[in-house]
């Protein structure tokens, strides 16, 4: 009879997840599962609410990247109010983009400095008492200050575009409710050191250098930890450029062959299905053409850099070329390279912010457009953690009748399960005790995806995990928890 091992991350906001690992009589891992309690409730309780409330209501899903939900919902409603995402006014689109790049910048910076930098600076095997953001602040004060300032800069961009740092109201169906003031623009462009965009670009480059340096010294770990073949999916601009706000859906297989050919996301249901499994609250999306066994895919920073052809800002493009050359132009399937991709995107976001601030449309112009109302619309956006789908249908009285949300973490459900399985197999096979090393490794694998379940743990840079080990009779034989 086999044994079952349970790892339970307890989080505050998004419910909790756990990992169960089944062992056979020889203590070999036979099955691994990551369970995450997801936010399905929102799809139900938004029913009956007026459609224009959706961008403000659904962003409450998340306290780290609410802007993504805000904008994905607004984009779906652009379709419903008959304007469509291709037709909103230049001012509206650029303000929304500025908001979104601001959020990317702050979310990616937070992830890197709070969650990843302790691993890079002290080593993945360092004592957890040492390997945290408080110790980073103590020993690498300048770097910690940079992290705080980068996040602050991004949040201030959000505030200037959405009205508030968290849970604002900027995007409305068919447009935006404000343009940028000249004072705001100048503050971000040439504001007092350190909070101006040029400084942000420099610091983003510095963070990239830090990663690349660590990579050089720890090739084996960074290249081989939780590495597995995967397909990748993301939005790309119609010309193939990296675009996190708008575009078409592209997916590539592990060799780089296109398996979704730049499709219009209004038709996503023709190409993507979701499988329900009895053991998880979170669905498992897959490409219909490949079926539920082979059709799973990865989303997020790594996927975006694997699907796009180029990055439309010069500094990030240069880094992208180095990144792509590392795998000879083939998709990169190394889980830890997610951090590399994330930092290239951070640099791109800063460059885009600069470009948008320099654009005159951001200061004035038409804010909202109207068209012929339709009853259904889909909004897609690349959230920091990956592709986010919002789909709404309304009734004749303007009330939401149906909502379907596929959040980034749901898209990454299968790959995260794979990553955890790989780690579990390499650490657990033949053992019947949970080691500290395994706990850390599972945490590191999950963290690479920056899933929503880690939101609550950002502050201290830790992911609380509880592991329960079951024997073949489903009896608990060991419990281990990371503090």
């Amino acid at each position: 009879m086999g044994q079952k091992l349970t790892i339970e991350p307890v989080t505050r906001v998004e419910g909790h997840g756990k990992v169960t690992i089944h062992l056979d009589d020889e203590n070999q891992v036979v099955q691994t599962r990551l369970h995450i309690v997801e936010f399905r409730g929102f799809e139900r309780f938004i029913q009956g609410r007026p459609y224009w409330e959706a961008p403000v209501l659904v962003q409450r899903l998340c306290g780290i990247c609410p802007v993504s939900h805000h904008l994905a919902a607004a984009k779906a409603l652009d379709v419903i109010v008959g304007v469509g995402p291709d037709n909103i006014s230049p001012t509206a689109e650029k303000m929304r983009r500025l908001m979104h790049y601001g959020q990317f910048f702050q979310s990616h910076s937070l992830h890197f400095f709070h969650l990843v930098s302790p691993d890079l600076l002290f080593g993945i095997d360092a004592d957890p008492a040492k390997r945290n953001v408080i110790e980073v602040a103590r020993e690498f004060k300048d770097l910690a200050v940079q992290g705080v300032m980068m996040r602050k800069f991004g949040q201030e961009i959000i505030e200037a575009t959405a009205g508030k740092k968290i849970h604002g109201t900027g995007a409305i169906p068919g447009g935006i409710n404000k343009s940028l003031s000249i004072e705001e623009k100048m503050k971000f462009l040439i504001g007092k050191d350190p909070l101006n965009v040029d400084q942000m670009i420099t610091w983003a480059q510095g963070a990239l250098d830090l990663f690349k340096d660590y990579h050089k010294k720890n090739k084996n770990l960074i290249d081989n930890f939780a590495k597995f073949p995967s397909s990748h999916l993301s939005l790309v601009r119609k010309d193939g450029a990296l675009d996190i706000y708008h575009g078409v859906i592209r997916a590539v297989d592990t060799e780089g062959n296109k398996i979704l050919h730049d499709i219009d996301y209004q038709d996503y249901l023709d190409y993507i299905a979701e499988e329900v499994k009895s053991w998880s609250y979170m669905k498992f999306p897959y490409l219909r053409s490949l079926g539920n066994k082979e059709g799973w895919y990865t989303v997020g920073p790594l996927a975006r850099l694997n699907t796009c052809d180029f990055i439309p800002t010069p500094l990030a493009q240069k880094e992208f070329e180095i990144f792509r050359a590392y795998t000879n132009g083939k998709p990169n399937n190394m889980s830890m390279h997610m951090h590399w991709a994330r930092l290239i995107e951070t640099l791109h976001a800063a460059e885009m912010i600069k470009e948008l601030l320099d654009d005159p449309d951001i200061l004035e112009g038409e804010l909202v457009r109207k068209g012929n109302k339709t009853i259904e619309g889909v909004g897609l956006i690349e959230a920091p953690r990956g592709t986010l789908f919002h789909h709404y249908r309304i009734n004749k009285d303007d009330q939401i009748e149906m909502a379907n949300l596929i959040v980034s973490t749901t898209n990454n459900n299968t790959p995260m399960n794979r990553a955890v399985e790989l780690v579990a197999k390499s650490y657990m096979n033949g053992q019947e005790k949970i080691t500290e090393g395994m706990l850390n490794a599972v945490e590191t694998a999950i963290r690479a995806y920056d899933p929503c379940l880690s939101c609550a743990t950002h502050a201290l840079g830790k992911m609380p995990l509880e592991i329960t080990l079951y024997n073949s009779n489903d009896e608990v034989i060991d419990i281990k928890r990371s503090e």
């Binding site: 224009w52 109010v81 900027g170 169906p173």
Partner: protein, 237 residues
């Protein structure tokens, strides 16, 4: 010239014209008394009772009580503030008031008074009533979850013949305010906006254009409610 009456509010000497209500006289003397159901230009009803003051030791609604010569009025004593707070708290628990996604947030009198009186959470248990949204009207949406039954809409929004477009339906604790389908059929956009503005909470919402006023530019974003009236700052405990 109408007769001038002398009276005091919290010891401050004030003057009023004969027939003026305590509320209007206080406003004229730059003293803020909170109200929800009252609206200048509409006949006062005294229904929300948030404007309770103590007159010669008795609780009375300031919006309906005329000033009398020599009245000594308490507006900011501890017991009055506690009564006002408890009324606001009762209103908050009685309906479903979710400010985070309410379009009226920042323009809502109930929210603004709750902020002014520093109410972080109500002392009473939430009732979470099961209420609907009336959405069939082409211009307006009536969200019964947020209605505080102040009747401002009934009194203030009328058609050309002077008939109220809003009306009570049902009785007792099941009472709701409905939009008259027939009378509202020809409602103009301006009237719909007026109805939304007259409602002190987010129970009447003009359809389609939501959240158009950015955060920072809403009525109570810059100054707390009553700041336009108040010269003598009320203590809010």
């Amino acid at each position: 010239m109408s007769k001038v009456l002398n009276f005091t509010i919290d010891g401050v000497i004030c003057m009023a014209e004969k027939g003026q209500t305590i509320l209007n006289a206080a406003t004229a003397n730059k003293i803020y008394i909170p109200t929800l159901c009252n609206l200048p230009g509409l006949k006062p009803r005294g229904s929300c009772r948030v404007c309770n003051v103590k007159v010669n030791g008795k609780f009375l609604t300031a919006c309906t009580t005329p000033v009398a010569e020599g009245m000594e009025i308490e507006n900011n004593s501890e017991d009055i503030i506690d009564i006002r707070k408890s009324i606001i708290e009762l209103l908050l628990v009685e309906g479903n008031h979710y400010c985070p996604y309410c379009e009226k947030s920042g323009n809502c009198d109930l929210q603004a008074i709750a902020y002014k009186y520093n109410i972080p959470a109500p002392r009473f248990p939430y009732q979470f009533p099961d209420r609907d949204i009336e959405a069939t009207n082409g211009k307006l949406l009536k969200d019964h979850n947020r209605c505080i039954l102040c009747k401002r809409c009934i009194r203030g929004i009328k058609d050309e013949d002077g008939k109220s477009i809003f009306a009570f339906k049902r009785r007792g604790h099941k009472v709701i305010i409905n939009i008259d389908t027939r009378l509202s059929a020809n409602m103009t956009d301006e009237m719909a906006q007026e109805a939304m503005d007259i409602c002190p909470v987010g129970a009447i919402i003009k359809k389609e254009i939501g959240f158009k006023v950015p955060i920072g530019e809403r009525k109570y974003d810059k100054e707390p409610i009553g700041s336009d009236i108040e010269e003598i700052k009320a203590t809010t405990i």
